[in-house]
């Protein structure tokens, strides 16, 4: 079982002074899957991610990543992961390429320049490579941020609210990048407060509420928990997202299937 589960969390507790944020969180993430941790603001999603990425110590419970215990084998955990935090953690004063080279050097990889150029191409940042990141748009910054996380091909990637504050086009770009990651066998733990984001991306979804995981399952399983959908005939209206993307640009391919599946939701 443990070889199947690249992330294993059991009984995780954490309080800040008197505020109990996590009151016994349990979940497992299978290798190569995308797992979404859903929750409202302040539900403790970031706290879970910070404990798993060895930035924070849990008060109780155990957690392991890639077979290493986060408390006792922190250095091994850090070899196995990459964290993309809530705010794009990029160096504004350096150029995009310099940011990537910096991370490649810190991961002690050979030929940081080539690694940087490959990622710039993969994330369509080649034209902006030499520009300072402070001139980048929010979407470019996030793509660079995600690109920095891929350096060294860590088997596990944590994405903490990766599309927070992005415009719809940039969101789709980031989603595309995340899907590609999972196709290459990377395990992705994603936190989000956007329900459609979890629907779009995740193989499994867990809802963190009042310090515990209330629900954990695939989207289909989650939907079955509610009474079966009634079939109603509704004229299909374009969503505002469809309209926005149709007007704003052509880089919006892939959004239409998302809108269709939204339409079939039985609520």
């Amino acid at each position: 079982m443990t070889s199947q589960h690249v992330i294993h969390v059991q009984g995780l507790e954490k309080s800040y002074k008197k505020l109990e944020v996590l009151r016994g969180v349990d979940f497992d993430v299978a290798r190569g899957s995308i797992f979404a941790l859903l929750g409202s603001n302040g539900a403790g999603k970031t706290t879970v991610v910070n404990i798993l990425s060895t930035l924070l110590k849990a008060d109780a419970g155990t957690a392991s990543v890639n077979g290493y215990d986060v408390a006792t084998q922190a250095a091994d955990v850090r070899e196995s992961i990459s964290l993309t935090g809530q705010f794009a953690a990029v160096d504004e004063i350096l150029s995009g390429r310099e940011n990537l080279v910096l991370v490649a050097r810190l991961r002690h990889l050979k030929d940081p320049g080539t690694i940087a150029d490959d990622l710039l191409a993969r994330f369509s940042l080649t034209d902006a490579a030499a520009r300072r990141v402070s001139t980048y748009s929010g979407g470019m910054r996030r793509r660079l941020d995600v690109a920095m996380s891929l350096i060294g091909n860590p088997p596990v990637i944590f994405l903490d609210e990766p599309t927070n504050g992005l415009d719809p086009e940039a969101r789709i770009e980031v989603w595309q990048a995340v899907k590609e990651l999972a196709e290459h066998g990377t395990t992705v733990l994603l936190t989000t407060q956007y329900l459609d984001e979890a629907e779009q991306l995740a193989d499994r979804i867990a809802i963190l509420h009042e310090g515990r995981i209330n629900v954990n399952g695939t989207l289909a399983e989650l939907k079955q928990m509610l009474p079966p959908a009634k079939v109603e005939y509704v004229e299909k209206q374009p969503t505002l997202e469809d309209v926005f993307l149709a007007i704003v640009g052509d880089s919006a391919q892939g959004s239409s299937d998302g809108a269709d599946s939204n339409n079939g939701k039985g609520k």
Binding site: T54, L55, G85, F87, L102, L106
Partner: protein, 253 residues
């Protein structure tokens, strides 16, 4: 992980030095304030201050150098604060690097930036008539004291850099440090001060450091001042380092 300590520190120091070369104004503004203090004191007030046979610019320079360092380290707190704020500090901490390299890189950068600012201030002082016949050894001793003082204040700057809630809070700690030389032997001989001010001036770190540097530069025999100066620098360094590491451990656990 210690095997990577030097390599990681070098990479991260390169990063923050690049920040400085891209905004050289931090070095210029660090040098501007001490120069702006030096000008009126040398050309306006200095004539009224009796410093014996020594020219006033020679008398004043050691204190001005300490003010330069005090204002320079506020940028260290500022840069560290920005790293905390932007999340890049957390990114580094979650990577397989020697974690303390992140702090050491800022400390080394502070040292380099301050030394450049000090050279700028000394050059301006030379234009204003500063002269010294001191030999290489005396200058090495002066450099050693200044480096030690920079390290002590830099580790002090790390504390607000790690713990401040706002940019202003991060750099505000340096204001009292900049003010400290005014109640010391840096501008006027302490003998002219009234009792309490004199007592404070004679027993605070700046006076002994200023006196030691002044004697070295003027090729006078250095008395016990240099030992008191070194004791202050090392003492501040140790205490500041201990508190900085405590603040650091709180941030990463």
């Amino acid at each position: 992980m210690t095997t990577h300590f030097f390599g990681d520190t070098a990479v991260l120091t390169g990063r923050s030095l690049r920040h400085i070369t891209r905004s050289p104004d931090t070095i210029i503004t660090t040098a501007i304030m001490p120069v702006a203090i030096m000008l009126p004191f040398v050309y306006v007030f200095g004539g009224a201050i009796d410093t014996g046979s020594e020219s006033y610019v020679n008398y004043l320079l050691p204190g001005i150098l300490l003010i330069t360092i005090a204002s320079g380290v506020s940028y260290t707190a500022f840069r560290l604060f920005l790293d905390m704020q932007s999340g890049i500090f957390e990114r580094f901490q979650s990577m397989p690097i020697a974690r303390s390299s992140v702090l050491w890189a800022h400390v080394l950068t502070s040292l380099v930036a301050n030394l450049v600012s000090l050279v700028v201030v000394v050059l301006v002082a030379l234009l204003m008539g500063f002269r010294s016949g001191a030999g290489v050894l005396a200058w090495l001793a002066v450099a050693g004291i200044l480096i030690l003082f920079t390290l002590a204040l830099t580790w002090m700057a790390v504390i607000p850099g790690l713990t401040a809630k706002s940019v202003d809070g991060a750099s505000a700690f340096s204001y009292p440090l900049i003010f400290l030389p005014f109640i010391s032997s840096a501008f006027v001989p302490t003998a002219t001060m009234p009792g309490p001010a004199r007592a404070f001036a004679e027993n605070q770190p700046v006076t002994s450091i200023v006196n030691a540097i002044r004697d070295l530069v003027a090729q006078r025999p250095v008395g016990t001042d240099i030992w008191i100066a070194l004791a202050w620098c090392v003492g501040i360094l140790i205490v500041a380092y201990a508190f900085a590491m405590r603040a650091y451990r709180r941030r990463i656990s």
